[in-house]
Amino acid sequence: MGLLFISPWIVGVLLFSLFPFVASFLLSFTKYNIVQPPEWIGLDHYNSIFTDDPLFLKSLRNTGVYVGGSVTIRIVLGFALALLLNAKVRFLGLWRTLFYLPSVVPIVALSVIWLYVLNARAGLLNSLLYAIGLPRYRWFADPDIAMIGYLIMSTTWVGVTMVIFLAGLQGIPEEYYDAAKIDGANVFQRLRRVTIPLMTPTIYLNILINIINAFQVFTQVFIMTDGTGGPRDATRTYVLHLFDHAFQYLPPQMGYSSALAWILFMIIFFFTAVIVTTSQRWVFYQGGENGA
């Protein structure tokens, strides 16, 4: 009976996750234009990607910048917000809702809003900078800073990280803080010696989730640059590059895109493995057990 109830989920996973997962792996060894049967070509795509595709490295580098920047922003800002919203302040529910709210707005709508906020001439951010005597930046027109615009935009989803941190903070027993206070620890010492060590499992979880998500950044870049990844390919992310080969170019190169997808999978897998492996050294669980 239990199997019957869970069967929709099992069917969903088999059809919409496992099957595409295996199929894309097999397709990565084929030439496949979607409308004709795939043709087996072995490792040719992988060879082309590493030797004959200048946009592969460029898109990977852009994505790396986004991953490094956005994960740092979300972890630091999310943790800071969670600390503030874990305190006993007035209208706590309202503040929590407000900070979480942008996370539930569809990314298409968010992208349009951010295009206005970061508009070089009439944008809200530049207007504020100009009002306090700072220069106006050409956020999405200057290749040197275009990716910074997307990093600023990534603060939109800090609410999700914040909520997970909040849950972690509420799981820390008050007794630890009471004991630290009796020992004379001030607020910063309590943060450093009690809160952060006990939050490492939550930090670990958030880093993993955010890294996996950030490597797949696509929609906002696709919408905000009309799919070009401009200017000068400065915001061409890895998944946008993959998407172009699959759906923008003619003939479609679904096999090549699948190979790109599997390389991305291996990169994400590598970072995940590194974090999981090193977690034994820096993640602390209550009761003294270290590591995952």
Partner: protein, 442 residues
């Protein structure tokens, strides 16, 4: 963690926020009764949606027993949607189709040739302007029927008040005159623009570089679509012109930053007064009249370059058509709809739809600038511009080729490459793509 009222608020905000996601609009006439329902995809957004609905309703009235599910899809995702539908064996019966996408779909026979249907119904290719019909052919077969016209993509729409204020009495005819006029019309403080005379990167149809190359008498590809020919004097002069225009406008970064304020329809740069001259297609007429009826404007052909000539200005390139995908559920009825959308002159079909927008029709018998029996006062000027259009061929690898060309232009305008190197690299890159295509599909 959250109170019930907070959850309620969150739910409402989520629902409101999801509204912009509904970019796909499907409309089916509830009064239509029939055994066959055709699925029809198109990309006519904005103020053309009601025209589409009217045109489809007229088709249903004229063809009892056939109903149409009229689906508007965004242009950007057209290939993704179409390829996925064909691969899944569930394509629409009729879809609007970019002529630039034809070679691949025809070479793989993913769409149905229309020649037999045309012969059976007496649809003579001569009812279309020959340059329009040429874009429907591949390997000697007709795969799509054209609408709207692929010509008149590069009309210069200019603000006559700006010209009068600047003391410019006649519209520039050559690139040198255009550069001079653009500098006179540009407003700014040396670092930030207040108004652009002309943004040379913003054209339509073939894309900026191919537009200027064409106006300079250059051909980018041989007529057999097998050899790229941009690395020459005409190509270098086109890039030099674009570079000079960007410098007049304080550099490419400032142009792009300023251009972020421009949008479509009522947000168009000419309508907003951001530019004095805008190069855009014939559809601009409909948009100006809908959103800026008090704008004083003129129309002129695009100026020609040092290698060009006065009788070759704009570019007819690509364009749209309608086709029936392979595995369409109702191909015979689908053909009837294609015929209505592209050849109908009497009822509210092809000709009526184009006339409502006041733009060129591919049909010889249909004057697109005549609406409800009244010829538009600018019809003569617009048809005069269209007469100077020259056919710029579409390559079988056009999407990727266009991307490479855009990258080449950026390399030059951002100062990362010399004109000579940029042209040589782009030509070699596109040639390699072309060679691969013809090797596989030729």
């Amino acid at each position: 963690m959250f109170k019930r009222s907070t959850l309620l608020l969150l739910t409402i905000v989520m629902l409101v926020a999801m509204l912009p996601l509904s970019m796909t609009v499907s409309a089916q006439n509830p009064d239509c009764e029939g055994d066959v329902t055709l699925t029809y995809w198109h990309h006519w957004g904005g103020n053309r949606i009601p025209l589409q609905e009217h045109q489809v309703a007229a088709f249903e009235d004229a063809h009892p027993g056939i109903c149409v599910d009229n689906v508007f899809l965004p242009w950007d995702n057209r290939l993704q949607n179409l390829l996925a539908a064909i691969a899944a064996g569930n394509p629409p019966d009729v879809t609007m189709f970019g002529r630039q996408d034809l070679p691949f779909f025809a070479a793989t026979e993913s769409i149905i040739p229309l020649d037999d249907y045309m012969a059976a119904d007496g649809v003579d290719p001569a009812i279309f302007h020959s340059s329009e019909f040429a874009g429907t052919q591949f390997n000697g077969k007709t795969w799509i029927l054209p609408l709207p016209g692929g010509g008149a993509y590069n009309i210069v729409w200019y603000n006559t008040d700006h010209f009068a204020e600047a003391g410019i009495e006649s519209f520039p005819q050559t690139w040198d005159e255009m550069l001079e006029a653009a500098e006179t019309l540009r407003l700014g403080d040396g670092e930030f623009l207040e108004r652009i005379g002309l943004n040379a990167q913003s054209t339509s149809g073939a894309g900026a570089f191919l537009t200027w190359l064409n106006a300079n008498g250059g051909d980018w590809i041989t007529p057999d679509l097998r050899t790229i020919t941009i690395n020459n004097e005409a190509g270098a002069q086109a890039l030099e012109f674009m570079q000079a225009m960007a410098e007049i406008n304080y550099g490419i970064e400032e142009v792009n930053a300023f251009w972020e304020m421009a949008g479509e329809f009522d947000q168009g740069p000419l309508i907003q007064g951001l530019v004095s001259m805008e190069i855009n297609g014939s559809w601009t007429l409909f948009q100006v009249e809908a959103h800026a009826e008090n704008l004083n404007y003129g129309v002129a052909p695009i100026p020609y370059g040092p290698n060009g000539s006065a009788d070759r200005r704009g570019s007819a390139h690509g364009g749209w058509g309608y086709m029936v995908p392979k595995n369409a559920a109702h191909p015979d009825e689908a053909w009837k709809l294609v015929k209505w959308l592209t050849t109908e002159v009497e009822g509210d079909g092809a000709c009526w739809f184009i006339q409502q927008q006041q733009r060129p029709s591919p049909l010889v018998e249909c004057n697109g600038y005549e609406k409800d029996g009244v010829v538009h006062p600018r019809a003569e000027a617009l048809l005069g511009v269209a007469a100077l259009d020259y056919l710029v061929p579409v390559s079988p690898v056009q999407p990727e080729a266009s991307q490479i060309i855009n990258r080449m232009v950026e390399d030059v305008l951002f100062g990362d490459s010399s004109i000579e190197d940029a042209l040589a690299n782009a030509e070699a890159e596109i040639q390699a793509l072309l060679d691969a295509f013809w090797e596989e599909y030729g």
